[in-house]
């Protein structure tokens, strides 16, 4: 019972993040939407029991975000 409620909430969060990432225009806003999406995905991985995969995903997502920000900061200068 409680797991279905958690799954439903996470589904809402994931689709909210995806729609926000797709619809917002500003690149910083798009990155914030991407962080929403990843926040919905990681508890789903933990619920299946793959803790090491969750650790690797949680470390690698900010690294890719920082790569994109590196391109975005150099573009303005």
């Amino acid at each position: 019972m409680i797991e279905q409620i958690i799954t439903l909430g996470l589904t809402g969060l994931i689709f909210l993040g995806a729609a926000a990432t797709a619809l917002w225009k500003n690149p910083f806003d798009k990155l914030i939407g991407l962080s929403l999406l990843s926040a919905g995905v990681i508890p789903l991985i933990v619920m299946r029991g793959y803790l090491d995969v969750a650790i690797v995903v949680a470390i690698l997502i900010p690294i890719s975000t920082i790569f994109i920000l590196l391109l975005l900061g150099r573009k303005t200068s």
Binding site: L31, A39, G49, I55, L69
Partner: protein, 72 residues
């Protein structure tokens, strides 16, 4: 129990302009608590800490990039 505050954080999250980073931070706290709640295991602590540090680093990078862009 944790779900109620988690839903509150999510609904609060989607208004405001570019100072929506505090709402993202609230949601990160909620998610890090939720991860520990759904599987009590010692490795879960490492997962929650890794997620929290990663999201904090991401927010820091976004905010500093906005600051650098606003300076120029």
């Amino acid at each position: 129990m944790s779900i109620a505050l988690y839903g509150a954080a999510r609904t609060v999250l989607e208004k405001e302009t570019l100072l929506k980073l505090p709402f993202v931070n609230v949601m990160n706290f909620g998610i890090a608590g939720l991860i520990v709640f759904i599987l009590p295991h010692p490795l879960t602590l490492v997962a929650a800490a890794a997620y929290f540090v990663g999201s904090t680093l991401e927010a820091n990078a976004i905010a500093s990039a906005i600051a650098r862009r606003k300076q120029e």
